[in-house]
């Protein structure tokens, strides 16, 4: 099917792109188009203008900055992230995550920024980025602001981003321990996913803090705060037992939608299974951290 006609603009700076979206009529940023074009073809979104951000230089950089943080430009494709040397070295779990998103064609053009801004609950990157405590840097007509990944998705298909705010870059501290991620899917997109990031003490024997996020069950990734509490200052070797003890209460707190991906109890159970597998992987990885 063909989308309805629209005007197509190719700004070459962030400021011009922001201005173009703010102009009269409905304008939207356009990156890989893997979500947007589907919505336009199905006529569930109507727009007057597409603002192509692919011509703006600098939006597809990946680097470690001076604050020991990792920066990923919003326009980076899944393919680029999965093969990037910085990501493979410091956050290999994110590289593998991006290598498994969708299919080869979507990974070639679909961007991490487009994935986040679409706000689809059945997505992989939002869960991992929340576990990594990432910040999303937005550039709008009223200046720059940062939003934590945890606060970015408001509800299903809705984020806190204003229409004229461009997501420029995603920033998170370089992990100080193993990061693990697992998902289960039987269709195109994840039914349940779990990300866990540990910070270890210098001797690598103890977890100083842990962040655990479960995604795709509700409208946005949810923290497993009871598990996080149970892991604080726990010996790596004791991590599995600590999680097992905390798990029933933690899973009970999750908001779980029953949908075509499965019933609520089933998916809650899967979240526990994935978390324990992540733990087994992290325990082994922890002993050899950093590589």
């Amino acid at each position: 099917m063909l989308p309805s006609p629209f005007q197509f603009e190719r700004p070459s700076t962030i400021a011009d792109a922001v201005r173009a979206v703010g102009d009269s009529g409905d304008g939207m940023f356009y990156a890989g188009g893997t979500e947007l074009l589907l919505a336009l073809k199905m006529r569930v979104i109507r727009i007057d203008r597409l603002i192509d951000i692919k011509g703006i230089p600098g939006l597809d950089c990946i680097a470690v900055n001076g604050m020991n943080e990792i920066e990923i430009g919003a326009r980076c494709t899944h393919r680029k992230i999965s093969g990037d040397p910085v990501i493979r070295e410091h956050v290999p779990a994110l590289a593998s995550l991006c290598a498994e998103v969708a299919n080869i064609r979507v990974r070639n053009v679909g961007t991490i920024g487009g994935n986040l801004c679409f706000g689809e609950p059945h997505a992989d990157p939002p869960t991992m980025l929340a576990a990594l405590n990432a910040r999303l840097v937005l550039e709008g007509s009223r200046g720059t602001r940062e939003v934590y990944a945890d606060d970015f998705i408001r509800s299903e298909m809705e984020t806190v981003r204003e229409p004229d705010e461009l997501l420029r870059v995603i920033v998170f501290p370089r992990p100080a321990g193993p990061v693990t991620y697992r998902r289960f899917k039987h269709g195109e997109r994840p039914s349940v996913n779990v990300a866990m990031a540990w910070s270890l003490n210098p001797g690598r024997s103890t977890i100083t803090s842990a962040r655990v996020r479960v995604g795709a069950l509700g409208s946005r990734p949810q923290p497993l705060t009871i598990v996080e509490g149970a892991l604080r200052n726990v010996a790596v070797a004791e991590a599995r037992r600590a999680i097992e003890t905390a798990l029933p209460a933690a899973l009970d707190q999750l908001e779980v939608n029953a949908d075509r991906h499965g019933g609520a109890d089933y998916k809650r159970h899967l979240a526990g299974v994935l978390l324990l597998r992540n733990a087994d992987e992290a325990i082994i990885a922890g002993g050899s951290w950093p590589k």
């Binding site: 629209f6 188009g33 074009l37 192509d52």
Partner: protein, 159 residues
């Protein structure tokens, strides 16, 4: 009002210039305007891979790509990888191994395999499965397609 843009791109190695409305999809430009009908449309939602073409050597879904996005880039379709006097190595392997029946998915598979072998001449079994995961075939059950691709990886190893 329909905005028409002038684009020029390489199509199967030949540079062409066309005027296209901004909202026209690449698959319609290729099939309807330029008459190359080897590229197929099936799901129309980036799931099946029947519409796969290469953009600068990488597979994309032409059903969900704007024609204006290929401006100043290189597009390769199934016509571009088919020798005038017969079949390519990859096409031959599909025939030999029974990797096609109705043939509707075949152009998409051939394009994906072309891109795979270009970057990874000796893919492992897992690499083949992972790369072709997003191309769907309703006829063959995939095993014969997999064997066709595997034969290419092997034959090169022996050479």
């Amino acid at each position: 009002m329909t905005q028409v843009l002038a684009i020029s791109f390489s199509l199967n190695g030949k540079t062409i210039a066309v005027d296209v409305p901004a909202h026209v999809l690449l698959i319609d430009l290729i099939r309807d305007r330029l008459g190359l009908r080897g590229t197929k449309r099936s799901c129309d939602m980036e799931v099946c891979g029947a519409c796969t073409v290469l953009l600068d050597g990488e597979p994309i879904s032409s059903c969900t790509t704007l024609a204006v996005d290929v401006d100043r880039r290189a597009v390769t379709t199934i016509e571009g990888v088919t020798p005038p006097d017969g079949l390519s190595r990859i096409q031959e392997a599909f025939v030999l191994h029974g990797g096609l029946q109705c043939g509707f998915c075949t152009p998409g598979f051939i394009m994906a395999v072309t891109a795979l072998l270009e970057t990874t001449p000796h893919p492992t079994d897992a690499e083949i499965r992972h790369y072709l995961d997003g191309n769907l075939c309703r006829c063959t059950g995939y095993t014969k397609i997999f064997e066709a691709v595997k034969s290419l990886a092997r034959r090169q190893d022996a050479a």
